[in-house]
C-alpha cells in the first residue's frame, strides 16, 4: 500500500508492504535516512529517536500506518544549509561520541529539550536525557555538548 509521509519538511509517497512496519524501517530502507538507528526495537534505548510534531519519539515502535499527517524530523532534518546545526556542531566540537551508535538519538532527544527550554540546568538535562541509553559511557561528553549548545 502507498502511504504519504511528511519527513523533514517534504511530503513523499512510499510503498509499504505491511502497514504495521515500524516507521524506523521505512525511514532507513525506503527513504535512505540513516540517522535513526535500530537499537533494541522495543522502545527502550532511544537510538531510533525522531521528532513527531516536534516531540521526541521512538520510531521503532511506531507503526507507519499510525503516523497520519504528523510531521517527522530525523537527524538529517537538523542540518542548516547542508551543514551541521548548532547542537550537532556542539557534539562534534566536544567529540561527544565513542562508538557513536546512540548519538543520533541523543541529539534528537537533546534538541527537543533546547527547543522548549534554550538554557536548561544540568538537572533538567539529566532528567530529560534519562530515556536514552549509551553503553560506552559517553554521558559526560554528551552533557558538555548539550551545555555548549545551550550557552553558545
Amino acid at each position: 500500500m502507498k502511504i504519504a509521509l511528511n519527513v523533514n519538511g517534504r511530503v513523499q509517497e512510499v510503498d509499504v508492504g505491511d502497514p504495521s512496519t515500524p516507521l524506523l524501517y521505512v525511514l532507513r530502507n525506503e527513504l535512505g535516512l540513516h540517522g535513526p538507528r535500530f537499537g533494541c526495537g522495543l522502545g527502550q534505548c532511544g537510538a531510533c529517536m525522531v521528532h513527531i510534531d516536534g516531540e521526541p519519539t521512538f520510531s521503532c515502535v511506531l507503526p507507519v500506518i499510525a503516523l497520519g499527517s504528523r510531521k517527522v524530523t530525523t537527524l538529517e532534518g537538523l542540518l542548516v544549509d547542508g551543514k551541521p546545526g548548532k547542537l550537532q556542531q556542539a557534539f562534534i566540537d566536544e567529540e561527544a561520541a565513542q562508538c557513536g551508535y546512540c548519538i543520533s538519538g541523543m541529539v534528537m532527544r537533546a534538541q527537543s529539550l533546547l527547543d522548549a527550554k534554550p538554557h536548561p540546568t544540568d538537572e533538567e538535562i539529566r532528567n530529560h536525557m534519562a530515556t536514552n541509553l549509551c553503553r560506552c559511557g559517553t554521558h559526560i561528553a554528551i552533557m558538555r555538548a548539550i551545555r555548549r549548545a545551550a550557552t553558545a
Binding site: D18, C40, L42, G43, I52, V61, P63, R70, N127, A130
Partner: protein
C-alpha cells in the same frame, strides 16, 4: 411570627420573663455544648524536646524501624522525587484539595526534631501533631493506629536517626470549609476506630502477622477499599476496590484475588519483585509499593500475601484466562497493534527485556473500567528502569488519542470475555490531562 411578637405587651410580663429565661437557658446550654465540643477536640501541645537532646536508640531498633517505615510506604508521600528522603513537600491531590506531605526529618523547625516519642505516638494513633493540631486523614492514622507501641518507637528511633533537612513544606491548598482543621475531629468521631487488633487464635501466627501489617502500617485499604463522600473507607465494603492517583486499585476480596488465580506464592513473588509470570507487572502507584516491599524480609511479604489471599477464602473457582480471539473486521487498528504491541506481548511468556506477557493475563485488560489499561498504554511502565525490571515504552506521543482509544477497545475485545468499555475516550482525555510521560 417572631419571638418579640409573642413576648409583646398583650402576653403579660410573666410570660416575657419566662421567655427571657428560656433564651438565657438556651444560650447557657449552647455554650456548654460548644465548650464540651471544644474540650473533646482540644489536644494539648506536647512539650518540645530540649535543644541538642539526642534520641538514644540501639541500632537494632533503628534497623527494625527502617523496615517498618518501608512497609508503611512513608517515604512515598513524604519525599519529593530527587530530594532528600522524608524531607516532605510532595503534593497529594485529594477530592477536597491538595495536601503536602510533611517533613519527617529531625529538623527542629521544619521537621519533627522537637517531637518526643509521645508526640510521635499520638500522631500515629490519633492524628494530632505535637502542637495539638488535627492532622488530615490523608495521613492514614486510621491504619497506623493499630501499630504496637514497640513498632511506633522503632519507627520514631529510625526517623530521628536520620540527617535533619531544613525544608518548609508548602501550606495545604484546601478551600473553605476543609481548611478548618477542627472539622477533622468530627471526621474522627465518625470514622477513626482505635480498638486494637487482637490476634485471631484460630489463625496461624503468619496470618496474624500479615493481618497486622496489612491492616496497620501497610494501610492497603487506603487504596483498595472504596471511600465515602467524606473520604473515609467504607466499612461495609472492605477491599472491594478503590482508586489511587486515578488508577483503579483492584479489589482484594472474593471478587478478584482467587478468581484471578492468585496464590500465596504468586502474590509473594509479585509483591517483592513487581512481576509475576501469571499476572505481569505492578504499575501505577502499586509500583512504589512493591519497590518498598522488595526491600523488606521475604517472611514479612509472605505473611502479607497469606493474609491477602485469605480475604477471598470461599470464593468461586479461579477462572481461566480468556482466549486470544482474533477479530475479523477490526480494520487498521490491527496493524497498529501488530506494529506497536505484538512484538513484546505476543512473543511468548515474559521473554526478552520487557518481560511482557500475553494480554489475556492482564488484570488491567479484564477490569471493569479502562483506567489502568489506558494509563499503561499512554505512560508505559517506567518504574523499574533503573534496576532492570519490566519495561514498556509510553505511547502517548507515538499514537494519537483516537488511536490510543481504538487500541484500548481492540485489546479489550480481543483479550477478554468482559463487556465493552464505555469510558475509554473519557479516560484517555483524563490521562492526557494528568500527563506523566518523561
Amino acid at each position: 411570627m417572631s419571638r418579640n411578637a409573642i413576648a409583646g405587651p398583650a402576653s403579660g410580663d410573666g410570660q416575657a420573663l419566662m421567655s427571657v429565661r428560656n433564651i438565657a437557658l438556651g444560650c447557657v446550654i449552647a455554650l456548654l455544648v460548644l465548650a464540651a465540643g471544644l474540650w473533646w477536640v482540644w489536644r494539648p501541645a506536647i512539650a518540645a524536646l530540649p535543644e541538642h537532646s539526642a534520641v538514644l536508640a540501639d541500632r537494632k531498633n533503628i534497623a527494625h524501624g527502617a523496615d517498618l517505615a518501608t512497609v508503611g510506604n512513608c517515604a512515598d508521600c513524604h519525599t519529593v522525587s530527587g530530594r532528600p528522603l522524608f524531607s516532605g513537600g510532595r503534593p497529594l491531590p485529594t477530592p477536597f484539595g491538595t495536601i503536602y506531605g510533611s517533613n519527617l526529618t529531625p529538623d527542629r523547625t521544619t521537621g519533627i526534631g522537637a517531637w518526643s516519642e509521645e508526640a510521635f505516638k499520638r500522631a500515629m494513633r490519633e492524628g494530632v501533631d505535637r502542637k495539638g493540631r488535627q492532622l488530615y486523614p490523608a495521613f492514614p492514622y486510621d491504619h497506623f493506629t493499630f501499630a504496637t507501641d514497640d513498632d511506633i518507637r522503632s519507627i520514631y528511633d529510625f526517623l530521628m536517626s536520620r540527617p535533619a533537612v531544613e525544608n518548609q513544606v508548602p501550606a495545604n491548598q484546601l478551600p473553605f470549609p476543609f481548611n478548618i482543621r477542627l472539622m477533622v475531629a468530627g471526621w474522627k468521631l465518625l470514622f477513626l476506630h482505635q480498638d486494637p487488633l487482637h490476634p485471631e487464635p484460630t489463625q496461624s501466627e503468619e496470618w496474624n502477622r500479615g493481618r497486622y501489617l496489612v491492616e496497620g502500617l501497610g494501610h492497603c485499604g487506603s487504596c483498595h477499599t472504596p471511600r465515602n463522600m467524606l473520604g473515609a473507607e467504607k466499612r461495609g465494603q472492605r477491599y472491594a476496590g478503590g482508586v489511587a492517583d486515578n488508577w483503579r486499585a483492584p479489589p482484594l476480596d472474593a471478587s478478584l484475588v482467587k478468581r484471578h488465580r492468585w496464590t500465596v506464592d504468586h502474590l509473594t513473588e509479585y509483591l517483592s519483585t513487581g512481576w509475576d509470570r501469571d499476572h505481569g507487572v505492578a504499575a501505577g502507584p502499586m509500583a512504589d509499593v512493591v519497590k518498598n516491599l522488595g526491600q523488606v524480609s521475604q517472611d514479612e511479604v509472605h505473611a502479607i500475601a497469606t493474609y491477602v489471599v485469605s480475604l477471598s477464602d470461599g470464593a468461586e473457582q479461579p477462572t481461566l484466562p480468556s482466549a486470544d480471539k482474533p477479530i475479523a473486521d477490526a480494520g487498521s487498528i490491527v496493524a497498529v497493534y501488530d506494529g506497536a504491541c505484538a512484538r513484546c506481548h505476543n512473543s511468548g511468556r515474559g521473554v526478552g527485556p520487557s518481560n511482557a506477557l500475553s494480554l489475556t493475563l492482564s488484570t488491567a485488560v479484564q477490569g471493569p473500567n479502562s483506567a489502568n489499561a489506558v494509563r499503561a498504554i499512554m505512560y508505559g511502565i517506567q518504574d523499574y528502569r533503573t534496576h532492570g525490571g519490566p519495561y514498556m515504552p509510553a505511547f502517548d506521543r507515538i499514537l494519537t488519542d483516537e488511536q490510543i482509544a481504538a487500541l484500548t477497545r481492540y485489546v479489550r475485545t480481543r483479550y477478554s470475555d468482559q463487556p465493552e468499555w464505555t469510558d475509554v475516550e473519557a479516560e484517555v482525555a483524563k490521562a492526557r490531562h494528568e500527563g506523566s510521560s518523561p
